[in-house]
């Protein structure tokens, strides 16, 4: 029998090798990557315990068969199945989004390897080895964050991410050792529990906090959002944070002392509130879309932690639902940022004045409002269920969640208003016409005496082309010429991200998905319920 755990890890790896080889043909590369993800999803969608026969052979694929690697067991368990399906599905969505919005060569092939490492982290036992898988994933994610950018100080985001995960590694390893050493303790004896498992709890809180970017508050999230291609940031915030969330749930499932300990629950609440205050407090005042995105990620993580502290099955449902909602909202918002960067080489509000591209506005507007939890979007459903899971009794906590979400909305709206502002024109100097231009104007005046409108228009156009540079291509829809810039420059930028039908289709589909799933969340809800059902320890 071939254990499915082996395929869950190797299928994306094989996909990565193929995608790397085919990276010259972006559509094929993405197709291969998406097929790898779909293959893993189809495999895991089978009921646990089933065996899939391989035609023409006597062997089959056993879904829950264990795989022993160097004394560590890899196995698809009931609680792993749906989280891994979600991670693969979210990755596939982000890969599709990157079809006409290139994110650098590492995005697809390295993204698949990172996905394999994160799936490995969920499958491996003992748990502490998950930290090693995350460290490997972080090293590769550093390539995705850096992509093809270069230059002095350009590596801050990648280094911050790598630093945070590397610092978390020993905390997990020592937590594992501490748990093994603690032995059996009466869970009703609070003092004995604290003495035996206190160090492990503190180490785990520190480890998860560092990896999630919650300890200290300002670690990898902002530098990564600033430096990385936007869909890479969305990938790390969806797949990376999602894998960590499900790993935390597995710890909760496996260790009763962790659930019993008030220390862990308090840490989740404090961390959640701190992130909501930090992210929400900063979001409205940001001056770039990528920083608004970073604040939105912090608010999302804060919301996650608060929901987890609720300790109920509904919490698991919310975490599951939020993973897919985050992938779509951040993906659509990231598409908008990508379009802005392609048009203006920046996503700063001051630099994007005059970009009245409806597709960019739609992506940023709907993605941003969804991240803000605006009614009618997928983010609203996610926030509403989060509020239900956290409990309406804590009015202060809920108010904080609403204010932090609104702050993201304000930050997004400020950026959108800037896009509709007229471009600032300073120091306009009229240049005196050259002698050749003067002779052209004289010729035009002489012909205009003929009183023939058609001839006059044609001559006017020809003279204007000759004076302004006849090889200038017309601007694309939504592009506005800013002072000091020739239309040829605008065309050169747009070749990085062709404003093709495909690109518009992807934006349109993303926006439609955010709205349709916001109105009809029932399409995702059964998956969330199925995931929650695996965590029987919750009331």
């Amino acid at each position: 029998m071939i254990p499915a755990a082996l395929l869950v890890v190797t299928v994306p790896l094989i996909g990565a090798v193929l995608a790397f080889g085919l990276r010259r043909w972006q559509g094929v590369e993405i197709g291969v990557a998406v097929l790898s993800c779909i293959g893993a999803v189809v495999l895991l969608a089978r009921p646990l315990g089933s065996v899939i026969p391989i035609p023409g052979t006597s062997i089959g694929i056993a879904l829950d068969a264990p795989l022993d690697v160097l004394g560590r067991v890899l196995r698809v368990r009931a609680e792993d199945r749906i989280p891994i399906i979600l991670l693969f599905a979210a990755t596939a969505v982000l890969f599709v989004f990157s079809w006409r919005a290139p994110q650098g060569w590492p995005f697809v092939p390295v993204g698949l390897v990172v996905l394999a490492a994160m799936s490995l982290a969920l499958l491996i036992r003992p748990f502490v080895y998950a930290a090693l898988a995350f460290e490997g994933a972080a090293a590769l994610a550093a390539l995705m964050i850096q992509a093809e950018r270069g230059g002095e100080r350009s590596t801050l985001g990648a280094l911050r991410y790598l630093n945070a995960i590397t610092l978390a590694l020993p905390l997990f390893l020592f937590a594992g050792w501490s748990i093994d050493r603690a032995g059996t303790v009466n869970l009703n004896d609070v003092e004995a529990l604290s003495a035996a498992y206190g160090p492990a709890t503190v180490l785990l809180i520190g480890g998860f906090g560092l990896m999630l970017g919650a300890i200290p508050l300002y670690t990898w999230v902002h530098p990564v959002a600033r430096d990385a291609p936007p869909l890479t940031t969305a990938f790390l915030a969806t797949v990376g944070v999602g894998a960590l969330t499900f790993l935390m749930l597995e710890f909760w499932q496996a260790y009763e002392w962790l659930r019993m300990s008030g220390q862990a629950t308090s840490a989740l609440t404090v961390g959640g509130v701190a992130l909501l205050i930090f992210g929400g407090g900063l979001a409205w005042a940001q001056a770039t879309f990528s920083r608004v995105m970073a604040c939105a990620i912090l608010v999302e993580i804060g919301c996650l932690l608060l929901v987890m502290s609720g300790n109920s099955q509904l919490s698991v449902e919310v975490l599951t639902f939020a993973t897919l909602a985050r992938a779509l909202s951040l993906g659509v918002f990231g598409l908008g940022i990508g379009r802005l960067r392609a048009l203006r080489s920046s996503d700063a509000f001051a630099e994007v004045r005059g970009v009245r591209d409806i597709w960019t506005v739609m992506a940023l507007g709907i993605g941003g409002l969804s991240l803000a939890g605006f009614p009618g979007t997928l983010g609203f459903v996610s926030r509403w269920t989060a509020a239900r899971a956290y409990g309406f009794a804590d009015i202060e906590g809920l108010a904080l969640l609403v204010v932090a979400s609104a702050s993201i909305g304000i930050g997004t709206l400020r950026g959108l208003i800037a896009m509709f502002d007229a471009p600032a024109i300073e120091g306009v100097v009229e240049e005196a016409p050259t002698s050749s231009q003067l002779s052209l104007f004289e010729g035009r005046d002489a012909i205009s005496d003929a009183n023939d409108d058609a001839i006059n228009d044609a001559v006017n156009d020809a003279v204007n082309d000759a004076v302004n540079g006849s090889d200038d291509l017309p601007l694309l829809e939504g592009e506005t010429l800013i002072e000091g810039e020739s239309s040829a420059q605008v065309q050169a930028w747009s070749t990085h991200q062709p404003d093709s039908l495909g690109a518009r289709l992807i934006v349109g589909a993303g926006v439609a998905a955010v709205i349709i799933l916001g109105i009809w969340p029932g399409a995702i809800a059964p998956v969330a319920k199925a995931a929650a059902a695996q965590y029987g320890f919750y009331p």
Partner: protein
């Protein structure tokens, strides 16, 4: 290979003091001298010392993974650093080679003194920590080695801004953790996984070193 393992075994049974001195001197040098032509060979020696120290608690053949992985990483980093230096030199930015060939002893960088003072403090703290908070299940010398590497790793990673130097800090940090954790779980699996982690981090750091010099655009695809 078996002779190499045997040599490793013999070295691990020899006196530990020279190894500790080598660890401390190498860590101080990496913290003080931010030049890859000095730092990377010193790191190779440091990996050798870490490997010999690990051979005291695990099989020498398994402990050999660490210096091998370290040497490969240092080799990859040196290629990346050389390419980065060549690019900077083309742009007229690199002064590292000249500074190394003709050091001006009268005008040493002011930061050097600061780094030297902090290095002494970290070394003192490592000695203090090894005595006051001995690491579980590990011999005192391993604990001291771990504290030295963790302390200097944090120092370098926190104070440097170039990818290569931050990376050397991270690699020292990983070596320190390995010295501290291996006695707790002396298994082949863990050593292999930690060696693999070192290689992956080294690969990422090489890429980031190239990116620092603006060489990563060459790795993209020309459509």
């Amino acid at each position: 290979m078996s002779q190499l393992i045997e040599l490793f075994d013999q070295l691990s049974r020899a006196a530990v003091a020279p190894l500790m001195i080598l660890l401390a001197v190498s860590a101080v040098m990496v913290a003080l001298v931010r030049n890859w032509r000095i730092a990377l060979p010193v790191m190779v020696l440091q990996y050798l010392a870490v490997g010999i120290l690990l051979a005291r608690v695990i099989e020498p053949s398994v402990a050999l993974i660490k210096p091998l992985a370290g040497a490969i990483v240092c080799f990859a980093l040196s290629i990346a650093a050389q390419r980065a230096d060549a690019l900077r030199a083309e742009r007229g930015e690199s002064i590292a080679r000249e500074r190394l060939a003709q050091p001006n002893w009268h005008r040493l960088p002011a930061q050097l003194l600061l780094r030297a003072i902090v290095a002494i403090l970290v070394l003192t703290a490592a000695f203090g920590a090894a005595i006051r908070f001995p690491l579980p299940a590990s011999a005192r010398e391993l604990g001291l080695g771990a504290y030295i590497l963790i302390g200097f790793g944090l120092l370098v990673a926190a104070t440097a801004y170039e990818s290569l130097n931050v990376g050397l800090g991270l690699l020292m940090l990983l070596s320190g953790f390995e010295l501290a954790y291996t006695p707790l779980e002396p298994s082949i699996g863990l050593s292999v996984l930690l060696g693999l982690t070192t290689l992956l981090v080294g690969a990422a750091l090489s890429y980031l070193t190239l990116a620092d010099a603006g060489a990563t655009a060459e790795l993209g695809i020309e459509n």
